[in-house]
């Protein structure tokens, strides 16, 4: 083949603003997303610590509470409404600006183009726009704290009528809730732009030889996640517009007739709050997979790399990802068993929900099969990938309980659900992000993270999250309701309060441990040992180029791919791994 025409998607910018602020380089945008998520996760974690504090010390006066929130914490004691606003903002910020942002938009943006051998995303300008739109959404969301009445109270699911009738239903339900909806609508737009880029890039920008069935599983999960985001966020956007109109234009999409709120009869008539629930969860359930699928991809990549074995059942993994993505759109009703839906519908949703257990079990089985007999290298990244498998199984098993309508009726409004979704959607996904960070940091920044601090960080975090979230299941079985600001007035809760105290201390501990991670991250940026091109002896394309990669990734050269993504311990090969681009590594 004659040397291919070198065609740059765009030229390297020279100004500071072009390079680091309004950059069109997918790598810079990926890092921007990562740090946006890092800011958000610290904010969301702080909110959760305030909640945990309030739950065990509901009557304690705190001087600086009053200074910070003169109305919501008058006299230094948090009002129940303030607790609900913390809960709403914790959930919203974590789900949208952390779980949706870092695994997909952060790591995906940085590594999808490199792993498939492209110079950049298909639409670099759209990519930049997508980041700054997400940034705007975050600014609008955080602004909800600072408007009159404060942040909204209606939870991350924003169920009407509470979210639809305005200030009379609570302090944060005025401007705060309006800003919430506007922020989410902006976020939907940003996610749609991102999804278009991910799908077009995966389909059209793969290097020669990089067939779909040779893509790293990370790319498969980013691709399927983009499809889920595309369909999910389009529906959420539509629902958000209708909710905004109910609030601001006096329409009655979701607000029923004859509603009395705070002793006032409302003018709305004929709307259906259930309609919102259907639209919301049609987005909301795929959203769970948007959060977790990229973590599955990273876990697969890492288990294979650090077991020095090909991934067990590569094709089965892809079919499982596709099946999870497809079934994810058919199970939204299992969030609504309590809504009075027909038992026949509930049965159908329940069966479909159980069906998702099959591809999930295939994945878990294949991960264990990958580890089986491997020469395992226990790096920090690998530990977090193993932690992901553990949390995925733990969180997944409680999902089987909740997928039964008869059991869900009991569990639905208890801490069992809080324990379940934090395990699987929250912590498992965050372990995926940690795994990705420890694995890709050398490539992104050209330096290694400290392994000793990393391992301490892993062990303490692993213990910490189990200490926080395992007891929630028992509390739920004991009947502890969720979304309550204070349990001290319920006699049956007295015996459970020590468990809450334990969980609160576990939360302080786990949060403190994250300072180790932050220290390691920022210290290693400056002082970490220099990274080689391929410190983990991995096979995928990002490890064929310098750390950090040059502006156009492959230095004007177009990689050609000869192998699948996980050729470890190939018999007859010179080393125990064969790079995807290695033309002559296998002799037959």
């Amino acid at each position: 083949m004659s040397s291919p025409e070198v065609h740059s998607a765009h030229h390297a910018p020279t100004s500071f603003i072009g390079k680091y602020v309004f950059s069109k380089d997918h790598k810079v945008i990926g890092i921007q997303y990562y740090f946006l998520a890092l800011f958000s996760v610290l904010l969301g974690m702080t909110l959760s610590l305030l909640m945990r504090f309030h739950m065990v010390h509901p009557d304690m006066k705190v001087g600086w509470f009053e200074k910070l929130w003169p109305t919501a914490a008058a006299g230094g004691i948090m009002t129940p409404e303030m607790y609900l606003s913390l809960m709403t903002m914790h959930g919203t910020i974590m789900v949208f600006f952390v779980l949706t942002t870092a695994p997909q938009s952060g790591f995906g943006n940085y590594f999808l183009p490199i792993q498939i051998g492209a110079e950049d995303m298909a639409f670099p300008t759209l990519n930049m726009l997508s980041f700054w739109t997400t940034f705007l959404a975050l600014v609008v969301m955080v602004a909800a704290f600072f408007v009159q009445g404060g942040a909204p109270l209606s939870g991350w699911t924003a169920y009407p009528p509470l979210s639809g009738v305005g200030r009379i239903s609570g302090p944060g339900e005025g401007m705060g809730q309006t800003l919430w909806i506007i922020s989410i609508a902006i976020f939907c737009g940003a996610s749609l732009m991102g999804a278009i880029n991910f799908i077009a890039t995966t389909l059209d920008l793969r290097a020669k030889g990089m067939s779909l069935m040779r893509m790293p599983l990370t790319c498969w999960t980013w691709f399927v996640t983009a499809i889920l985001g595309l369909f999910g966020f389009a529906v959420l956007l539509a629902a958000g517009i209708l909710l905004l109109l109910d609030r601001t234009a006096g329409t009655s999409f979701f607000i029923p007739a004859g509603l009395v709120v705070s002793d006032q009869i409302l003018n709305h008539k004929g709307g259906s709050p259930l309609l919102w629930q259907h639209l919301f969860w049609f987005f909301g359930h795929p959203e769970v997979y948007i959060a977790i699928l990229p973590g599955m991809g990273v876990t697969s990549q890492l288990l294979s790399t650090f077991s020095r074995k090909p991934i067990f059942g590569y094709r089965a993994m892809i079919y499982a990802i596709l099946a999870i993505g497809f079934l994810g759109f058919l199970v939204w009703g299992h969030h609504m068993f309590m809504s009075g839906m027909s038992p026949y519908s509930a049965f159908a949703f329940s069966v479909l929900t159980m069906t998702i257990g099959v591809p999930s079990a295939i994945k878990t089985f294949n991960w264990i099969g990958t580890l089986w007999g491997g020469k395992i290298r226990f790096t920090t990244a690998m530990m977090f990938a193993l932690g992901f498998v553990s949390l995925f199984v733990t969180g997944g098993l409680s999902g089987i309980f909740l997928g039964q309508p008869s059991l869900d009726l009991y569990f639905h409004d208890t801490y069992f659900v809080v324990g379940h979704f934090h395990m699987i959607m929250g912590v498992a996904a965050i372990f995926g992000m940690f795994a990705g960070t420890y694995y890709w940091f050398p490539k992104m920044f050209g330096r290694m993270m400290n392994e000793t601090i990393g391992k301490i960080h892993f062990y303490l975090t692993f213990l910490g999250v189990y200490a926080i979230f395992t007891p929630m299941h028992f509390l739920g079985i004991a009947g502890n309701p969720r979304r309550y600001a204070d349990f001290t007035n319920f006699e049956f809760m007295n015996s459970l309060m020590p468990v809450h105290t334990f969980m609160t201390h576990a939360a302080y501990f786990t949060a403190a441990v994250q300072l180790l991670f932050l220290f390691n991250l920022f210290w290693s940026l400056k002082k970490g040992a220099k990274a080689t091109d391929n410190p983990w002896e991995s096979t995928t394309l990002e490890w064929t180029i310098p750390s950090p990669p040059p502006f156009d990734n492959f230095g004007g050269h177009h990689p050609v791919v000869y192998h699948g993504a996980y050729e470890y311990s190939v018999p007859g090969a010179a080393k125990d791994y064969v790079m995807q681009t290695d033309p002559a590594a296998v002799s037959h």
Partner: protein, 211 residues
């Protein structure tokens, strides 16, 4: 054939027998960017379809479950608007074909006509809103009017984006800067426009038969 040359190049070195297909695309170049643009547009249309599907399902549910639904008296100008939009799509299609056969002058005329018809449609939609307003039908008057305003506004905003694209192409064409490289823009914006045309016809059917 360039394709087979490229295949030979990667076939040369020894490969494991289960190497699989070489389905990967080529790097860089105009072909890639053209293909990616078309893919991107199709994906965008899928998202828009999903959004209108969500609104439609809300419409069907809200209409079916309530006893407060009054059929909306459709402004007659909507029929004229529909005809204008279909004509605009046809003009763009004629323009696209003229460009393919290299008749640039005719392309300019048809494309500009399509653009003007598109703007006329938007004016017509604004007039339909005006008529409803004169009849005292506002967004909160009845769920049927709420949905009508939502649907027409959502469609109109998307169409406005389309008009901007059409005008951009028109300006390029009239300044004689529409080289072969820009034909992707023509294809992609025409595809978008035809889709919005079809979407409007669908919405008219929805209003007429389930209004």
């Amino acid at each position: 054939m360039p394709g087979s040359l490229a295949k030979d190049a990667v076939k040369g070195p020894p490969l494991p027998p289960d190497a699989g297909d070489f389905g990967g695309g080529g790097p860089g170049g105009r072909g890639t960017s053209r293909r990616a643009s078309l893919t991107g547009m199709v994906v965008l249309l899928a998202a828009i379809t999903m959004m209108f599907a969500a609104l439609t399902s809300a419409y069907v549910v809200r209409r079916g479950m309530s006893n407060d639904w009054n059929a909306l008296p459709l402004p007659h100008v909507l029929f004229a608007n529909t005809a204008v939009l279909v004509a605009s799509s046809a003009a763009l299609e004629l323009a696209r074909r003229r460009l393919k056969s290299g008749r640039r002058g005719e392309f300019n005329r048809y494309w500009t006509a399509g653009t003007v018809l598109g703007m006329l449609f938007l004016l017509g939609q604004a007039y339909a809103w005006h008529e409803l307003k004169e009849a005292g039908i506002f967004v909160a008057t009845n769920p049927s009017s709420s949905f009508f305003y939502v649907f027409t506004a959502a469609h109109g905003i998307h169409l406005l984006g389309g008009v901007v694209a059409l005008i951009w192409v028109s300006v390029q064409a009239l300044r004689l800067q529409l080289g072969p490289g820009k034909r992707t823009v023509v294809e992609v914006s025409a595809l978008y426009w035809h889709f919005l045309d079809g979407l409007w016809v669908y919405l008219m059917v929805l209003f007429l038969f389930w209004g």
